[in-house]
Each structure stands twice: as structure tokens, then as C-alpha cells.
């Protein structure tokens, strides 16, 4: 621990000089604050949750709690961040590449299950915007864990050409009440009463405003938005994400489509002729997808993902005709982990 003046300006100056923050003011991680947070897990402070690439720093429960305090998290958020840390360290998430690439990829947290309401996570109007403490600080804590434990310092190991605002914070809950389908965590094999967090290597958000009123029309314009030649999805076969507005989701459901059928149709309709790629990108695609697609020529129709099921869909947001396409870092696969609550939290959750 470091002794410093209790003056907030002095503390922020210290963290800024040592590059322990993200450019915004921080909450001082004092022993009292960290201790309060540690009460919300059954795990010991010294328990190792994961190692975080690229520096492979050891993420103990205590080190996660310190960064959570720094980000402004409430103490009861800690179990979410423990699950998040486990998720990003799974090999299929490819954190080593995410942390060091020139690509703007940010880690997007999608929360499902009863914990969303208990922590007052926003899943509705402006769920990716400002205003909800849990959304803002959980996403921010993820970034600080990446930087302070993983060692991804901007300009040193994090070489993003521009980066994106989502690298400050990128977190929302699924609007399960507004969805006509099973929520993401149930689709992935968890019980509805489980709480989960899913981590996604997200390249950004592309707004899709459309007043389409039938499924065919709606899917046609969504597929058209997904088929972007300057993206990694087509080079590697990616895992594109869609955040559908409740209104759009209900149009699809009303016309008799399950989530799986929506994925299948989008996968078919978003196939793109290989000649739309730049010549260099086509060469990379030929190397990366030969085993999957055979020889790839200019007229080969490239699917956006290897399998229709690789397209992920959640329903989120409030009223309005805006859905969001989230292109993903092509060589990363999302990971879902259950949020394990402390005994006390689990009891409150059950009420």
C-alpha cells in the first residue's frame, strides 16, 4: 500500500502519474473500501481467479476488488467481476490478441438473470448510454482489470489505432421482459434463475433504424447492414452480434420466427461475394477459411460466420425502431459464466 495525502486531488494526481487509471477521476481504493467489497464473495482474498493476458498478471479476488473500488463499483458488484475475469481468461476469448491489437475491440459485458434487477442494471432505454451506476462502473472496472492486471497500457501494449469509447465502459443487461424469446443465458444452457455474464470482443456499435413492419423486410435490411467488406467477420468467419430493439424482435416473433430461424435467415442473406473484399483481405480470407470453404474465388459467397448459430442475438433497449449491429473481433468467441453469489446475496436474490 502507498501512503498519500487524503486530499482527492492529490490521490488522483498520484494515480494519473503512475498510469493506474483510465483518464477519468478514480475512487481511492482504501483498505476499508476493499474490505467492504470482499464481504460479497465466499472466496478468500488471495484466491487466484485467473491470469490476464498479455502480461499474465495474477488476478486474485483482492486485486479484482481493488480495481472495482477504483472504478466506483458498489461492493455487491464483486461477484459479477469475478465471473467476468474468469470469462475473459478462457482461451476461446483470445484476450492476448484483444489486448494488443491495432483493432478497436472492447470487452462488452452482457448480464442476464435476476442479478440484473438486483444491481439495477439498465437493459432498457439508453442501456448503452450514461445514467446507470452499475452499467457504467462494471464496464469501467473491466477495463481497469485489463490494464492494471493484464498490463494493456494504451500506447505500450495496447496498440489500438483509434480505440473506441466502449473501451472506457461497455456493459448492459438483456431486456428479458421485453424479449419474445428465451434469454441469452437460457439459450446457452443455464437455468432461468441463474445469473450470468457474457463477455464479447466488440468492435463497436452500428445503429440500424428501420420502420420495417414485416419480418422479411426487417431481415433484409439487417443482413444488408452486416455485410460490410472491411470487417474481420468475413476474413475469419466471425461471431457477429445483434442487439434487437424489443419492437423489432416482436415483429420477427409475430411473423412466426424463432431466434434460431432468424439466425439461419440472416446467415443466408448476409453472404457476401468474395470480390467485395480488398485484394489483400481476400488473400487473408483464402488462407484463413480454406479448410472450411475450400478454394475461394472472387465469386465465392462468404458466410459471415462458420455456422448460423455463431450469430448471437439479444433483445435490449427501450421503445423505438433502433436495433444495433455489433461486429466482433473476428478471432474471438464470446464466453458466458455464472455469477456465483455470496450466501447473503443469494438469500436476498431468492426473496
Amino acid at each position: 500500500m502507498i501512503e498519500t495525502s487524503g486530499d482527492l486531488d492529490t490521490i488522483n494526481k498520484l494515480y494519473r502519474e503512475r498510469r493506474w487509471g483510465d483518464g477519468l477521476p478514480v475512487v481511492p481504493p482504501t483498505a476499508d473500501r476493499v474490505e467492504r467489497m470482499l464481504r460479497h464473495t465466499r472466496r478468500a482474498p488471495s484466491d487466484v481467479v485467473a491470469t490476464i493476458a498479455p502480461g499474465f498478471g495474477v488476478a486474485t479476488v483482492e486485486r479484482i476488488a481493488i480495481n472495482a473500488v477504483l472504478a466506483g463499483c458498489d461492493p455487491e458488484y464483486l461477484p459479477v467481476l469475478i465471473a467476468v475475469t474468469e470469462a475473459v481468461s478462457a482461451s476461446q476469448f483470445n484476450l492476448q490478441a484483444i489486448q494488443t491489437t491495432t483493432h478497436p475491440v472492447a470487452v462488452w459485458l452482457v448480464i442476464n438473470g435476476p442479478i440484473s434487477q438486483r444491481l439495477k442494471l439498465n437493459s432498457g432505454t439508453n442501456c448503452l448510454g450514461p445514467g446507470a451506476w452499475a452499467n457504467a462502473t462494471l464496464g469501467r472496472a473491466m477495463r481497469l482489470i485489463q490494464q492494471n492486471i493484464g498490463g494493456a497500457l494504451p500506447g505500450e501494449t495496447d496498440h489500438a489505432t483509434q480505440g473506441q469509447p466502449g473501451k472506457y465502459t461497455f456493459c448492459c443487461a438483456e431486456n428479458e421482459a421485453g424479449s419474445p424469446w428465451e434469454p441469452l443465458h437460457v439459450e446457452r444452457g443455464f437455468a432461468p434463475e441463474c445469473s450470468t455474464v457474457t463477455v464479447v470482443g466488440a468492435a463497436g456499435t452500428s445503429n440500424m433504424i428501420t420502420h420495417a413492419k414485416d419480418a422479411g423486410d426487417l431481415l433484409r435490411v439487417i443482413a444488408g447492414t452486416m455485410a460490410v467488406p472491411a470487417s474481420l467477420e468475413y476474413v475469419y468467419g466471425g461471431e457477429p452480434w445483434l442487439m434487437l430493439a424489443p419492437e423489432h424482435a416482436h415483429i420477427l416473433k409475430h411473423d412466426g420466427l424463432s431466434k434460431a430461424e432468424v439466425k439461419r435467415r440472416l446467415w443466408e442473406q448476409s453472404k457476401m461475394p468474395a470480390h467485395r473484399l480488398a485484394a489483400k483481405d481476400l488473400a487473408r480470407t483464402q488462407n484463413a477459411r480454406r479448410a472450411e470453404l475450400g478454394e475461394i474465388g472472387p465469386d465465392t459467397l462468404l458466410p459471415i460466420s462458420i455456422d448460423p448459430e455463431d450469430i448471437s442475438i439479444i433483445v435490449a433497449g427501450g421503445p423505438g425502431t433502433h436495433s444495433v449491429y455489433v461486429p466482433v473481433f473476428g478471432t474471438s468467441r464470446s464466453v458466458t459464466r455464472e455469477v456465483l453469489l455470496s450466501d447473503e446475496a443469494a438469500m436476498i436474490n431468492a426473496l
Binding site: T30, A31, K280
Partner: protein
């Protein structure tokens, strides 16, 4: 006047200082050298040229070349197992 307080350092020690070579080769003559081509266009030409030099100028016995799906994709476990089992040294790199 504010009293002094104690705050945590949120970082962890990085591995930079503790990295070291597993072992060094004293010569290349008769050795087996592997390449992991990162899959970027043209890197295979660089690999071909260096492989030729390693054999003709430095007496390397064999060069084993393997290619990844792309630069941001980790080498598959099978590839790492194969190369680590057969090679005295493996060269990885980034080229375009």
C-alpha cells in the same frame, strides 16, 4: 489539512523481467528449425527466403514450415506440439 491515508496499488508485477530463454543454440549446423508463418500475405515468401539462407549459409539440416489461420489466431496446440517435438528452434514473427 487532510490526514495521510493508505491506498492500494491496483497493478500486479508484470512478467517482463522474469522472461528468459529456455536454452540457447551454440550453432545452427545440423539443427532443425521451424517457422510459424502468421498467415499474412507475402510472409510465406520471407519464410522461404530465410529458410533457404539457413540451409545454404548456416548448414541447417531441415526447415519445417507451418502456417496459422491468421496473425491474431493462436497457433493450434497440435502445431505447437509438432514443432516443439521436432525442432531445435522455432521462429515466429509478423510480416506483411
Amino acid at each position: 489539512m487532510n490526514e495521510n491515508i493508505f491506498v492500494f496499488n491496483p497493478t500486479v508485477p508484470r512478467l517482463d523481467g522474469s522472461q528468459h530463454l529456455r536454452h540457447a543454440l551454440d550453432k545452427l549446423t545440423g539443427k532443425v528449425v521451424g517457422f510459424i508463418d502468421n498467415g499474412k500475405p507475402n510472409f510465406n515468401y520471407l519464410v522461404d527466403d530465410i529458410a533457404e539462407l539457413l540451409v545454404s549459409k548456416y548448414g541447417v539440416a531441415t526447415v519445417i514450415k507451418r502456417r496459422k489461420r491468421g496473425p491474431s489466431v493462436p497457433a493450434p496446440d497440435m502445431m505447437i506440439k509438432e514443432l516443439s517435438g521436432q525442432c531445435d528452434a522455432v521462429i515466429t514473427g509478423s510480416g506483411d
